[in-house]
């Protein structure tokens, strides 16, 4: 048996590797029977047994994810909104309700995606930003470089003192309130994509699974106790394996797979997050206007037997495309994918995917594939 396409570094399982970065939950993962893998330089749990069971656990009940490797950044000072309005492709002016969050791409001047991130409007002097683990250092360097020119009074602080746990699923919020009853009053009324600053606990109604739930930021030294307390009330730990199938079913992009610095947001399914209509200028806007995309991101469901994977070639009547993320969908019990294909390809078309030496049929569908416990895409 030999590795072929390794979505999660299959053969990088290590019992102990001192060169990998660890989160404050590392010992807890091992105690809970996690299989640990090298995930972009981090020693992280890929599963605690069955990845498919963990996936269903989140869709049907709730589960918790260690997302301490992601980075919290605080941007503070007068003019922080104006700075973000220029820094990001989505418009920070859209969020006016305190605690409200906005998903956005951060672009290079040539339109390539530096990262995708979430910003939270806490006050006109404070926006909180959450960025991806693998891109955190370059993101912060970029933000500081831009702030030095456009908003020299701002402070941009990497909150390395904070940890983050995502609790996701239909019962997730109730479980968090069981463990943190002191946060309930402030978080009960949160709408989707809104956060509350509850002192030591920053509780956001956000996630990466297509389910309801919270992402909780808290002091690093408290996260292990929080993790075990959640487990005690029945919240099961979920590995990165299920995190990937949950986000793929929910039609959420993964940075580094579905987009990166070499492609723009418009060909990465992120057109809905890019505001090209207003007068507002932002980094990358001119490049996006000058280069209308010839490709777009679509969903695929495999009609034949097999498994769609990233980088497989897609053959369409309008030219070739490529799968950016593919896997088996535990909810649909079929293989699904996101693929970048020529603009002419339409929902409902049948395309061919080259898998090893065969051409297999797949149908183009509108994604998400599944959300809130149910399949939402029909063939």
């Amino acid at each position: 048996m030999g590795a072929r396409l390794c979505g999660l570094a299959l053969f990088h399982l290590k019992k102990a590797n001192m060169t990998l970065k660890t989160t404050p939950l590392n010992a807890a993962h091992r105690a809970m029977g996690a299989k640990m893998v090298d995930f972009g330089g981090w020693d992280m749990p890929v599963n605690y047994g069955s990845q498919i069971e963990e996936h269903h656990q989140v869709r049907n009940d709730c589960g918790m994810f260690d997302v301490c490797h992601m980075r919290v950044v605080d941007a503070k000072g007068d003019g922080v909104r104006a700075f973000l309005r220029y820094l990001l492709a989505n418009n920070a002016d859209k969020i006016t309700l305190p605690g409200k969050a906005l998903y956005s791409a951060m672009l290079r001047p040539d339109g390539g995606v530096i990262d995708d991130l979430i910003i939270y409007f806490m006050s006109e002097q404070w926006f909180r930003i959450v960025v991806n683990a693998g891109t955190a250092d370059k993101d912060i360097a970029w933000m500081k470089q831009q702030a030095a020119v456009h908003a020299p009074g701002l402070t941009i602080t990497s909150r390395d003192d904070l940890a983050m746990v995502a609790v996701q699923g239909p019962n997730a919020r109730a479980k968090v309130w069981q463990v943190l009853p002191q946060t309930k009053a402030a978080t009960e009324g949160l709408v989707n994509f809104q956060a509350a600053d509850c002192g030591e606990y920053f509780v956001a109604r956000t996630g990466y699974t297509g389910e309801d739930g919270f992402e909780v930021m808290l002091p690093k030294e408290k996260v292990e106790a929080f993790w075990y307390a959640l487990n005690k009330v029945g919240v099961k730990p979920i590995g990165l394996g299920a995190r990937d199938t949950l986000r793929l079913e929910a039609g959420m992009n993964l940075y580094g797979q579905d987009m990166d610095e070499t492609v723009g947001p418009l060909e990465s399914g992120l057109g809905w997050t890019v505001d090209l209509k207003s007068e507002r200028d932002f980094i990358g806007k001119a490049a996006l206007l000058a280069n209308p995309p010839s490709k777009k991101l679509v969903g695929l469901v495999l009609l034949d037997r097999g498994v769609l994977r990233g980088h497989q070639k897609v053959v369409t009547a309008h030219g070739a495309g490529e799968i950016t993320s593919g896997s088996f969908s535990p909810t649909l019990e079929k293989s699904i994918a996101l693929a970048r294909v020529p603009n002419g390809v339409q929902i409902g078309d049948t395309v061919q995917v080259e898998i090893r030496d065969k051409m297999l049929a797949a149908q183009v569908v509108k994604y998400p594939f599944a959300r809130n416990g149910k399949a939402v895409c029909s063939l």
Binding site: M1, G2, A3, R4, L5, C6, G7, L8, L10, F11, L13, K15, K35, V46, N47, S50, Q51, I52, G241, D244, T245, R305, G306, V307, R309, S327, F328, P330, S335, R356
Partner: protein, 129 residues
């Protein structure tokens, strides 16, 4: 879980069982299924296909990855386990029962030369460190 002592093994994590009729049965080991995780697709080689030792001939895919299965010795494929089409997860629950294909080896001595359970365990242990 220990590896059955009546089987032979390859360094690439296939197990090989010698059958009474001179054919051999091939699957992937407990260690291999553990590495791959939940299995969702198995593609066995076509019956009648002639294989050389170490040739890629089958594919097993879990939710997270695809892996090649290699012919342990040279020979001809004489059967494929179609039960795995509908229940690939049997490889997870019963790796030494859920066989993938059977071969008629060109040379029976090739099978005897494969790893025994102790030697295979040493391969597994060396990968873990």
């Amino acid at each position: 879980m220990s590896n059955p002592s009546d089987l032979r093994y390859t360094e690439s994590h296939e197990w090989v069982k010698s059958d009474a009729d001179g054919t051999i049965t091939i699957g992937i080991t407990e260690h291999a299924q553990e590495l791959l995780g939940d299995m969702v697709f198995v593609e066995a080689p076509a019956v009648g296909r002639k294989l050389k030792a170490k040739e890629e001939c089958a594919v097993v895919e879990s939710v997270k990855a695809a892996a090649d299965v290699y012919a342990p010795v040279s020979g001809e494929v004489v059967a494929a386990n179609s039960a795995l089409d509908g229940s690939p997860e049997n490889i997870n629950s019963d790796p030494y029962g859920a066989w993938i294909f059977k071969m008629k080896p060109d040379n029976a001595a090739d099978v005897a030369a494969l790893l025994d359970a102790t030697a295979y365990q040493a391969v597994v242990d060396s990968e873990a460190h």
